[in-house]
């Protein structure tokens, strides 16, 4: 419960930060300036109205999302990445792999529950098998024996379960610290995180529980190769938005 509360409070805090600080600077109007060589009017076919279907993602909270995106970038530069660099210096590769496997084991548990909710037998069998094998032979999940045995690793979250039962993605949402999401997946994080943290608290002693709670974001960041503004695109915000939405659409479809 602790971690779910802290997650909520973090979200609220960041939303408040976004809301309290001065609003976005006023956007100058393109129509006040001379037309450029190539305009939308000249290039886009009339039936396309103005914007492409391809890059279109429902984003009614774009203003807030962009502010959180910007905040996440600065947090990444100032806190996350330096901490990850320190972590990678202090903890050797084998230790980091063990920690990653340990957390993945909890994700597999979440997958098992969500596969059950979606009545998906094969994924349920695989993820349950993985948890059983890795928690025992794999020494509390530190060693990924199941993958070595060739058991595939499905991933299903509560967001996927909602999607399975027909809940749409809803508005695009950039979550403080975590990054791109949507309303459905963002809300879906809460039961998943609650399940993980309550099982973790039940099986671990309190000092270990606290240590691992602190390690989780570091491990997650260390295993996420994404770097803000290093993909070469001048249009990063909408590119990431489109990629995330497309990926989630496909995740739910299969």
């Amino acid at each position: 419960m602790k971690s779910i509360l802290s997650l909520c409070s973090i979200v609220l805090l960041a939303l408040a930060l976004g809301a309290c600080s001065s609003g976005p600077p006023p956007q100058p109007q393109a129509s006040d300036y001379p037309e450029p060589v190539f305009t939308a009017k000249r290039l886009l076919p009339p039936e396309k109205t103005e914007l492409d279907d391809l890059t279109a993602v429902y984003d009614p909270w774009e203003g807030m999302n962009k502010r959180i995106y910007n905040f996440n970038y600065h947090f990444d530069q100032a806190v996350f990445l330096p901490v990850v660099r320190g972590y990678e210096t202090v903890v050797p590769r084998i230790g980091r792999d063990g920690i990653e496997n340990f957390f993945d084991n909890f994700v597999d548990m979440v997958t098992a529950v969500n596969s059950a909710l979606q009545l998906r037998g094969k994924k349920l069998l695989r993820s349950t098998g993985r948890v059983l094998i890795n928690s025992t032979v794999g020494l509390f999940g530190l060693i990924d024996v199941a993958s070595a045995m060739g058991i595939p690793r499905p991933v299903e979250s509560f967001g996927d379960t909602l999607g399975y039962y027909g809940v749409g993605q809803g508005p695009y949402l950039v979550i403080p610290f975590l990054g791109p999401s949507n309303l459905r997946d963002g809300l879906g994080l809460l039961p998943d995180a609650y399940l993980q943290s309550s099982v973790k608290s039940a099986v671990l002693s309190e000092p270990l529980d606290i240590t691992t709670t602190l390690l989780l974001p570091i491990d997650t960041r260390a295993n996420t190769s994404f770097r803000y503004y290093e993909n070469g695109s001048a249009f990063e915000y909408q590119m990431v938005r489109w990629l995330y939405s497309t990926k989630r659409k496909l995740d739910v479809e299969q």
Binding site: P24, P25, Q27, P28, A30, D32, Y33, P34, E35, P36, V37, F38, T39, A40, L43, L44, P45, K48, E50, L51, D52, D53, L54, T55, E62, G63, K66, R67, N70, Y73, K122, P152, R153, P154, V155, Y228, Y229, E230, G232, S233, A234, F235, Y237, Q238, T246, K247, L250, D251, E253, Q254
Partner: protein
């Protein structure tokens, strides 16, 4: 008009094929070469599949760094993240030769090709300094003098300045026994002009220079790439449908062939698996190459327009900030070819400086042909290319053996840069700098 557009395209395609096969026949290529992908478009898209790749060390100290090139420059807020130029280094502990790597069009200092090259050269005992292409968003923002890139000599000057400033910082850290430079694609083209500039400036006195799959004429190559987007079924206005269809075909093929989660997509052989699963036709592969080039050129053109405030797609004088909605500019720039940029932005922008030059003269100055004599007489420069390179016009490949003589090595297959990670090519790259001592 009695001939339909599709017939014309068919004839043009047929001619290209015929002349292309003639061109292959005319060039002496490397014998006994077993790079596995024989289709030029597939090779360009897929690269070298994992099982055929040269074995390179996983863990080299290839570290990202940053440097301010223009301290006085006020970076536009919409590019607030780009004030410093990012680059990467892998440094030896002891004195060693140093090699500069220049990435290809739209590619970064730590993209997969530069990273693989860094591994190969680091393993061979070089200090490695890797920079992004002058056409990469961050380079345009942080290190381009004018913001309007694609100019052979101007880009070379920008790159040279970057090299000098990076070396000024590194020289207290390491000892370099010699300086060398290489690059692939546009980076290979850049390397030739950087080498020529070095003859005057002499900051480095490069010992060896290797051009990997360079274009001969920039304009010819971008025209070819622009034409590839016409292979998108229904043209660029159906770009969204094309991408959507590809993605759907891919996922449905995966589902029908077995259990693969999209969570696992994006691995080392992602492209190769996709290619095998989709069984794409050449036009579709060409459309993919064209699309990928279009996406990076759209970003570049917008970046240049903001930096130079030219009024190409963004109204001149309009100031954008980090919260501005850029979708309209994205959608507009995706519909513009690089040839449009050349004629409507690049040429008018530089015309003032070269008042007597005609458009054609200007175009021909942006080519290796314009420094042919220098290339012919400069023994330290070698090149490696592929006879079936998709960014060369039919017959253009002949330029290399004609000008470089036996300093040119032409592989029979590999498309555009598809074979750079193949063991023979990796060995060749390293040997180009180590043969006859370092």
């Amino acid at each position: 008009m009695t001939i339909s557009r599709s017939t014309q395209q068919f004839i043009a395609g047929l001619c290209a094929l015929l002349f292309a096969s003639l061109a292959f026949a005319a060039v002496n290529t490397v014998p006994n070469y077993n790079y596995p992908i024989k289709d030029r478009f597939a090779a360009t898209v897929v690269g070298t599949p994992e099982e055929y790749r040269a074995k390179l060390p996983d863990d080299i100290p290839f570290k990202g760094r940053s440097i301010t090139i223009f301290p006085e420059r006020v970076t536009p807020d919409v590019f607030f993240y780009g004030h410093e130029l990012l680059y990467s280094v892998a440094l030896q502990d002891d004195a060693a030769p140093l090699i500069f790597l220049i990435a290809g069009t739209g590619a970064s200092h730590n993209g997969s090709k530069n990273t693989d090259m860094a591994k190969a050269f680091y393993q061979a005992g070089f200090h490695v300094v890797s920079i992004s292409s002058p056409t990469y968003n961050n380079f345009v923002i942080a290190a381009s003098t004018t913001g309007v890139v694609g100019h052979a000599e101007r880009d070379a000057e920008d790159i040279y300045r970057v090299f000098e400033m990076i070396w000024a910082e590194l020289k207290d850290e390491i000892t370099a026994t010699s300086f060398n430079v290489t690059g692939y694609s546009l980076g290979g083209f850049n390397a030739a002009f950087v080498s020529k500039l070095d003859e005057e400036r002499q900051s480095f006195n490069f010992r060896r220079v290797l051009l990997i799959n360079p274009p001969v004429s920039l304009y010819n190559s971008i025209s070819l790439l622009d034409r590839m987007t016409q292979d998108i079924p229904g043209g660029v206005n159906n770009f969204d449908k094309f991408v959507d269809r590809l993605i759907r075909a891919y996922t449905s093929t995966l589902r029908s062939t077995g259990y693969i989660d999209t969570a696992n997509a994006g691995g080392d052989d992602f492209l190769y698996d996709t290619y095998k699963a989709l069984n794409l036709k050449d036009e579709e592969l060409a459309a993919l190459i064209g699309t990928s080039f279009r996406v990076s050129s759209a970003s570049l053109v917008f970046t240049s327009d903001v930096m130079a405030d030219f009024g190409y797609i963004k109204p001149k004088g309009l100031v954008l900030n980090r919260y501005s909605d850029l979708r309209l500019y994205n959608d507009v720039s995706l519909r513009l070819g690089f040839t449009d940029y050349y004629h409507e932005f690049f040429y008018p922008f530089y015309k003032a400086e070269y008042p007597t030059m005609t458009r054609d003269e200007f175009i021909s100055s942006m080519s290796l042909t314009s420094i042919e004599n220098y290339l012919r007489n400069t023994k330290k420069i070698t090149m490696m290319g592929n006879a079936d390179d998709v960014i060369l016009e039919p017959g253009e490949i002949d330029f290399f053996p004609r000008v470089f003589g036996d300093r040119a090595t032409i592989y029979p297959v590999g498309g555009h840069c598809g074979n750079m990670s193949y063991p023979d090519n990796v060995a060749h790259m390293v040997a180009a700098f180590t043969e006859g001592g370092m």
